[in-house]
């Protein structure tokens, strides 16, 4: 959620730049995605220590948001690039001001990408072990909990849970993928003429 909220304006900002500036910006934004997770987790730990944030839920949320922003930016940017420049101009010409253009035209147009980004980030942070481990303190996320249990010996229940989680996340991912594709299909090609608007 946080990363979607942060990533969206960043994507808007990037969409307005061009040339070398744009390349640099994109590289800078993507950097966290390519950094080894351990490195970013440790630096995040140091960072939250500096700004006086306690380890725990807030820290985990913060850390995960930082890790997800690049994915949001990329997904939104891709969709934004397919949107003709004239569409906003057309809305303005028909009497829509900036706020109406954003709410009625741009956000609905981006909605498949936003939804996709949101689901993707959800999966990403659910699975993430390293960041949660470093930032969690006494607050344990699911993978951290599993890891802790694992240290006290082998437990058949553990294997069962892991398998279930594997299936559930895969299923969720596949479903999200399908859902998003269907939505963008509807607004891009000519297959579903009679589909109800949401």
């Amino acid at each position: 959620m946080i990363s979607v909220a942060v990533g969206l304006p960043i994507a808007f900002a990037v969409a307005r730049t061009s040339g070398v500036m744009r390349g640099l910006l994109i590289a800078l934004i993507l950097l966290p995605a390519f950094l080894p997770v351990v490195v970013s987790a440790i630096s995040l730990r140091i960072f939250i220590g500096r700004i006086g944030l306690e380890t725990g839920t807030a820290a985990i949320a913060f850390g995960h948001a930082v890790g997800s922003v690049p994915f949001v930016v990329i997904m939104v940017l891709t969709r934004l690039n397919t949107m003709g420049r004239n569409m906003a101009d057309a809305a303005r010409n028909l009497g829509a001001d900036d706020v109406i253009i954003l709410v009625r035209i741009v956000l609905p147009y981006l909605s498949p990408a936003l939804l996709g980004a949101f689901m993707f980030c959800l999966l990403l942070s659910f699975e993430d072990f390293v960041r949660s481990f470093f930032l969690g303190g006494f607050e344990q996320t699911f993978p951290v909990l599993l890891f802790a249990r694992l240290r006290f010996g082998f437990d058949p229940g553990l294997a069962a849970i892991s398998t279930l989680v594997l299936i559930a996340t895969t299923g969720f991912g596949l479903y999200a993928e399908r859902f998003v594709r269907k939505r963008s299909l509807r607004s891009e090609t000519s297959l579903t003429s009679g589909a109800k608007n949401d």
Partner: protein
């Protein structure tokens, strides 16, 4: 047909990108109910001029009046002129009816009134059954008409169309030209159409403004633009043209004597179509349209006679395009009526009435 208050009035509009003057001191008055076309090559400033009127581009100086009101500094979303975009720019997440109703909705119209207006416009564009479809389920021509309906829905003071037929294939384009013209007649709206296609401009417009390098070079009826081009650029850009370089030898009464190569042509001074009238000794260009030529020698006094060798002919059914090379290696385009009984490579004689040409000062 005309009204004392013009639909659109542009006064001394200027716009520059750096050193490049995209619009160079353009003034233009467009009466109500007129179909006017801004014609020019790409980059001549016609689209920028259009975007200035709707407020999507900001002129550096000048005044824009719509229905007599100064809207030069009005926000783009408060202007009473609507625009049809080249790529239609329909909203893909809204149905056709929602698209058409968007402008009315922004004006705060009631829902039932919007629905009535949408239906009305779908009737006008003769697509009453597509209200609940999404734009992506429409063909190019249908999208084009929906875009038109969407711009007409809020009852604009004038409709501006930015090369709206550019993306359609030839057959569809010709159908849409007729359709556009018919809709313009039926609604009585002022249409300002922008195109680089001279045939499109000719076939639809009441008035054509030919633009070049940010200036309007001539504002006239399509017939006059073609027959009486004011500049060399227009003669060349509008229709096919044979250009002859000539010099004014003498002026007597209402006739000019021109020397063209070795020949001397006596032509009516009234056929000088440029704004500036040439003096004796000045260089001029003579414009002769391909269809002005007749084949064979002429016995009529005063006709211009030419001869050359037929190098190529293209048969088009109702017409034949001929390429004729003259003795001084000038290639002429001739538009003749079949049948032509002259073989390629043979000598051919041509003539043209002395008043069936245009003379433009300068070269």
């Amino acid at each position: 047909m005309t009204d004392p208050v013009p639909a659109i009035e542009l006064k001394n509009i200027c716009k520059a990108y750096g050193a490049l003057r995209v619009i160079d001191d353009v003034s233009l008055t467009i009466e109500r109910g007129v179909f006017i076309t801004l014609l020019g090559p790409s980059g001549c400033g016609k689209s920028t001029l259009l975007r200035s009127i709707v407020g999507l581009a900001e002129p550096d100086s000048g005044t824009i009046l719509v229905d007599g009101k100064d809207i030069t500094n009005a926000a783009a979303h408060n202007r009473p002129v609507k625009m049809v975009f080249q790529d239609y720019a329909l909203f893909p997440h809204m149905t056709v009816a929602q698209n058409i109703g968007f402008g009315c909705e922004m004006q705060g119209m009631e829902k039932s009134a919007i629905a009535r207006r949408s239906t009305e416009l779908l009737e006008l564009i003769r697509l009453p059954d597509i209200a609940n479809r999404y734009p992506d389920a429409l063909s190019g021509g249908q999208r084009q008409r929906v875009a038109l309906a969407r711009a007409l829905a809020p009852d604009p003071a004038a409709l501006l169309l930015d090369e709206p037929l550019g993306a359609l294939d030839l057959k569809l384009r010709q159908d849409m030209q007729r359709e556009l013209k018919a809709i313009q007649r039926r609604t009585g709206k002022t249409f300002v159409f922008v195109t680089h296609d001279q045939q499109e401009a000719m076939s639809m417009s009441d008035l054509v403004a030919v633009m070049n390098k940010g200036k309007i070079e001539q504002l006239d009826s399509p017939e006059n633009i073609y027959a009486n081009p004011a500049t060399l650029f227009i003669a060349d850009f509008v229709g096919a043209t044979n250009l002859f370089e000539a010099t004014v030898e003498a002026k007597d009464g209402d006739h000019l004597t021109l020397s063209v190569g070795d020949a001397h042509w006596r032509v009516p001074a009234a056929r000088v179509t440029s704004h500036r009238k040439p003096d004796v000794g000045e260089a001029v260009s003579v414009v002769i349209r391909p269809e002005a030529f007749d084949i064979g020698a002429s016995r009529r006094k005063g006709d211009i006679q030419l001869s050359g060798r037929l190098t190529d002919q293209t048969y088009l059914g109702d017409r034949v395009h001929l390429n004729v090379e003259t003795a001084d290696e000038k290639s002429l385009l001739v538009d003749a009526r079949p049948p032509i009984s002259i073989g390629e490579g043979a000598e051919i004689r041509l003539h043209c009435r002395a008043d069936n040409l245009a003379i433009i000062a300068g070269r």
